[in-house]
């Protein structure tokens, strides 16, 4: 896409391009996983607005720091009895 060309009709573009855009730089808080507590229910994976929860074989393996913007939704949505994710202040780390 160059400026002199006409733009894609109505702004319709191929899907999945958000992956190419880093939102990790916005982050002030970082999710920290307590692996011992996590029961791999993957509610955080469903709820993360940025697809930043990484999994393998149905198990939570970590966070994609290129895309995690530190919103804390995962920490809030992790079941009350588990609370395996805490949010740490980036500058304190």
């Amino acid at each position: 896409m160059t400026k002199n060309n006409t733009m894609p009709h109505g702004g319709t573009i191929k899907s999945g391009t958000a992956h190419d855009y880093s939102t990790g730089g916005w982050r002030k808080l970082r999710p920290i996983l307590d692996r011992d507590k996590c029961i791999d229910c993957l509610i955080c994976w469903v709820m993360c607005p940025d697809s930043a929860i990484l999994t393998e074989d149905g198990k939570l393996t970590g966070f994609d720091m290129e895309h995690c913007k530190g919103c804390g939704v995962c920490a809030a949505e992790c079941p009350d009895k588990i609370k395996a994710i805490s949010m740490a202040v980036e500058e304190d780390l």
Partner: protein, 396 residues
Amino acid sequence: MSAALKQKKVGLTGNSAVAYAMMQIDPDVVPAYPITPSTTIIEEFSSYHADGKVTGELITVESEHSAMSASVGAAAAGARVMTATSAQGLALMWEVLYIASGMRLPIIMPIVNRALSAPINIHCDHSDSMGARDSGWIQLYAETVQEAYDNTIMAVRIAEESDVLLPIMSCQDGFITSHAIECLELIEDKDVKDFVGEYVPKDTLLDVDNPVTMGAMALPEFYMEFKRDQSNAMTRAKDAVSKISAEFAETFGREYGLFESYKLDDADVAIVVLSSAAGTTKVAIDKLRAEGKKVGLLRPRLYRPWPHAEIAEALKNVKVVCVLDRADSMNDFGGPLFGDVRSALFDLDTAPKVFGRIFGLGGRDYKVVDAEGVIGELYKVLETGKIEQLNRYITI
């Protein structure tokens, strides 16, 4: 096709005629929320839906903001979408109107023109659709029930024209046209279906083999190029209106242009006015023509895009023009139509003198005697060469 396919003559209100056209078009999706005076369009369409006369989805939503949002969603999914509204309903759709046009979704929306609050008023003026004149929607204005019906059918083709793909408002005057029974010719269902044809969307969210993102961001590097493309599509819409109106005339025998000229050829003075008020004005013109006064009328049918060059050409030999606006821009410089007409004439070597009058707000009657008063003012300017008041309210 040969002219004048079989049609039946009936008496219908403007809203019944538009609802009938919608039934014949049978759009894929109609998200709707009722508001006076457009309510009976949706009411009657709901009856057609309940009676199994249409096959599309009718979604009764909780507000006009939702009606336009659902229209955008359905159109993005690849559906042919229609809805209808008036006044506050259109105002509540505001932010989504721009999303529909920016995403180039050819949504078709009959508008029944009504005054905006406050004060609360349910009667006709053009403040609702005039406020949306820069929203990137094509706008047609109908004088009669027949034209409101015909425009609804043509609107489908204009919006969906492959080099246009923009949403369209097809406007008629609230109550004056929408609730008055006039005689009109209805086209056979099959012929309407043949004329509008099948809608083939350019992109669709439902094509899972070719997944797309719609409504993505475009920051300063690209936003302006998108707007330029949209603006160019709006420019092309003018030719689409001419082309499709010509095809309609050839098929069904009724001719419509970008605007209507009435006794304009030899006119010294002329009135420019939209919609139903043109009918009243023609009666006054006929009366004064009988007295030897050379008066004419220009009634824009297409208002967005604005056919400025054609209108300048049509008015270039007129000496004085009065533009009647059924909406005030509240800018100390008259109504929107006044500004557009005056600007269109500016580059003529001998531009007519142009003044504006605001009339008929909130359903105030505009009578033959009011049109005669305007013609009197036109002649005064013709004789003295001086406009005493550039803009003011009449019918007050």
